[in-house]
C-alpha cells in the first residue's frame, strides 16, 4: 500500500471526516455522543450505505447466474468489490471468500479441515486431514471466535488443542511458543491485534515457527484490517479472517483470505447452489475458489458497501489512520494512568509495545458495568464485559474490563471527554 503524501491526520481533519458519519452527531440525553466503541463495531460513512442503495437502485440481480443485463451488471459489481477488498488487504482476487463475518470465516476453515479429515476432497486435500497425534495451536489472548472453532476441530478430529501462554505483562510468550510449536503442529492460529489489549503481535516470528514445521498459519485480522496498513501476502500467512462491520463496512459481511492454491485444494464447508461444476443424483463436483466456498445467494449489496468502505479508508490513507489512532491511544494511555484509582490492563504505557487506539482499564472499586453506565450518562460509549475473550480476562485477574477503542473519526476532544468522565466515576459511586 502506497504511503500517503497527505499531511497527518489531526483534529481539524478528523472533524472534517466526522461530517461523513452523521450518527456521530447523536445526542445521548444532554450530552454529545463520544463514540469509543469502534473495536466492537465501527460507525459507517454515508458513502457506504449510499453504495448499497445505489446497487439496489441500479443493478440488483442474482450474481453468477442468468444472462440478462442486470445479472451481468450485478456480477461485475460483486466481483469488482472482491477485487477492491483483495487489493486493500494485499491479496489476490481469487484469495478472498465472502463470509458473514470473521467468525464464519474461521469456522469455514475449521469445518473444511473437518470435512477433509472425514475423507472429502480427494488426494489434494491430504494436507488438511487431521487426526490423533496432530496438534492445533492458538494463543491465550484470542477472541472466542479464534479459539472455540479450534477446540471443537480438535475434538472432532482427535487432534490435541494447545495454546501459547502469555508473559506476565500479557504479551505472547515467544520462548514458550518455540516449544509448543513442534513437528506435530498442523495449525497455528493467532490474532494480529488483541481485541482487548489493542497490542499488535508481530506475525513474523510465529509464521517462521509454523513454516519450520510445516504448519498452516491462521491470522485473525479483525482488529488489524481496520486499523493498520495490511498486506497479507507480505505477512506470508496461509489464512486470515476479517469482518466488514469493524472497518466502516456493513454488518453481515466479512472475508476469509487463503492462499489461492490452498483454497483450491480445500474441500468446501457449505454446499448448495453456485458452488458446483456438475451434479448428479449420486455426487457433485465443485468449482475452484472462491466460488466453492460461496454456496447460496451471496451478500451482494453488502460486498458493494464494504468495497466503498475500503475505498474510503484508502482515500484517507491507512498509514495516516494508523498514526492518528496511535496518537489517540497514547493520549488515552497517559491520561488514564494519571487518574487515581484507574489501572491499565496489559502492557504498561511505557513498555514500547506497538498498539492501536484501543485501551482496556479497570476502575478500582467500581465494576466495569457500572463504569460503562456512568460514562454513558456523559455520552461516552465504551465496551464493558469480557469482550469475547474470557481466558484473557481470567489471565488478567478480572472477570470484566472497560475498553475504549478509537477510530479515524475520533478527536483529542473525544479522548478528553473520556478522561474527564472516568475521573468522575469513583466520586459518583462513593469509592475513595
Amino acid at each position: 500500500m502506497a504511503v500517503s503524501d497527505l499531511p497527518p491526520l489531526d483534529d481539524t481533519e478528523a472533524a472534517r471526516l466526522r461530517a461523513d458519519f452523521p450518527i456521530l452527531e447523536t445526542r445521548i440525553g444532554d450530552a454529545q455522543l463520544v463514540y469509543l466503541d469502534s473495536g466492537a463495531t465501527s460507525q459507517k460513512p454515508e458513502c457506504v450505505w449510499e453504495a448499497e442503495q445505489h446497487f439496489y437502485e441500479t443493478a440488483n440481480a442474482a450474481v453468477h447466474r442468468g444472462a440478462h443485463t442486470l445479472a451481468v451488471e450485478a456480477t461485475d459489481r460483486f466481483e469488482d468489490a472482491r477485487a477492491a477488498v483483495a487489493g486493500f488487504v494485499g491479496a489476490g482476487e481469487r484469495e478472498i471468500v465472502w463470509t458473514a463475518n470473521a467468525t464464519e470465516a474461521l469456522n469455514l476453515i475449521a469445518y473444511s479441515f473437518s470435512n477433509a479429515s472425514l475423507g472429502a476432497g480427494g488426494p489434494e486435500a491430504q494436507p488438511f486431514r487431521l487426526g490423533p497425534g496432530d496438534e492445533i495451536v492458538a494463543t491465550g489472548m484470542e477472541h472466542h471466535a479464534n479459539l472455540i472453532p479450534w477446540q471443537e476441530l480438535a475434538a472432532r478430529t482427535g487432534a490435541s488443542f494447545r495454546w501459547i501462554p502469555l508473559t506476565p505483562d500479557a504479551r505472547l510468550d515467544l520462548e514458550a511458543a518455540a516449544d509448543i510449536v513442534n513437528a506435530k503442529t498442523r495449525i497455528l492460529a493467532f490474532t494480529h491485534v488483541s481485541n482487548v489489549l489493542g497490542t499488535v503481535n508481530d506475525p513474523a516470528p510465529l509464521v517462521a515457527m509454523a513454516k519450520a514445521v510445516g504448519a498452516f498459519t491462521v491470522l485473525d485480522a479483525c482488529q488489524s484490517a481496520p486499523h493498520l496498513p495490511l498486506n497479507l501476502r507480505a505477512l506470508d500467512v496461509d489464512f486470515a479472517a476479517f469482518s466488514g462491520h469493524k472497518m466502516l463496512g456493513p454488518t453481515g459481511i466479512g472475508a476469509l483470505y487463503g492462499r489461492a492454491e490452498l483454497l483450491d485444494a480445500m474441500p468446501p464447508f457449505l454446499f448448495g447452489g453456485s458452488m458446483i461444476t456438475t451434479v448428479s443424483m449420486e455426487k457433485a463436483e465443485y468449482l475452484p475458489a472462491p466460488q466453492r466456498f460461496e454456496a447460496g445467494t451471496q451478500k451482494i449489496a453488502q460486498a458493494v458497501g464494504l468495497a466503498a468502505a475500503v475505498g474510503y479508508l484508502s482515500e484517507v490513507g491507512m498509514d495516516r489512520v494508523r498514526a492518528w489512532e496511535e496518537l489517540l491511544g497514547e493520549r488515552m494511555l497517559t491520561g488514564l494512568s494519571d487518574i487515581p484509582g484507574v489501572r491499565l490492563l496489559g502492557p504498561a504505557a511505557d513498555s514500547g509495545v506497538q498498539r492501536t487506539g484501543t485501551v482496556p482499564f479497570a476502575v478500582e472499586g467500581v465494576h466495569p458495568h457500572d463504569v460503562g453506565q456512568f460514562l454513558d450518562s456523559r455520552g461516552v460509549a465504551v465496551r464493558v464485559g469480557h469482550h469475547c475473550a474470557e481466558p484473557l480476562h481470567r489471565f488478567l485477574g478480572v472477570t470484566a474490563s472497560t475498553r475504549a477503542s478509537a477510530y479515524l473519526y475520533n478527536t483529542t476532544a473525544d479522548v478528553d471527554a473520556l478522561l474527564q468522565a472516568v475521573s468522575d466515576v469513583r466520586g459518583f459511586f462513593g469509592v475513595k
Partner: protein, 153 residues
Amino acid sequence: MNPLEQLYQEIILDHSKRRVGAASLEGEPGAGEGQSHQHNPLCGDDITLRARVSADGVIESLAWQGDGCSISMASASVLAEGLRGHAVSEFAEANETFHELMRSRGKLAADEELEERLGDAAAFAGVSKFPARVKCALLSWEAAKDAIARASA
C-alpha cells in the same frame, strides 16, 4: 433526579457496599437448605445463593457469594436482608411484583404501595429504564427462587 441517579439510588449504592448476607459458602447445602448458581454471560455477574427454609415454609436465612456490578450485588443484599423471616408464599408474590416492575420500562413508579410490597427492592424501579441492566437486578431473584424451591423440595 436524573435517570442515572434514579438507577443508582442511595439504597442501591449502600447495599452494593454492605452486601448483607455475603458469605463464603462451603460444603454442600444441609437439610432444609437449597442452593442455586446463576451466571450472566453478558457481563459476568455471578452468584451462588443458599436458602434455608423451615418445615412450615418460612425463609430462615439467605446467604450468597458472588461477583458483579453494583446493581446485581445490591439486589442480592436487599433480598438477603428483606426475605429473612418471610413465608415462601410471600416471596413468590414479591418475586412476581419485582418481575413486573423490571418489565415496566420505567412506567411503574416507586410509590408507597410498591414499597409496601417490595420494601427496599422498590428502589430498583429506576433499573427498568435501562433494559441492559434488568438482568443484573433479576439474577439474585432467579437464584433465590431456585434455591428456595430446592430447599422446600
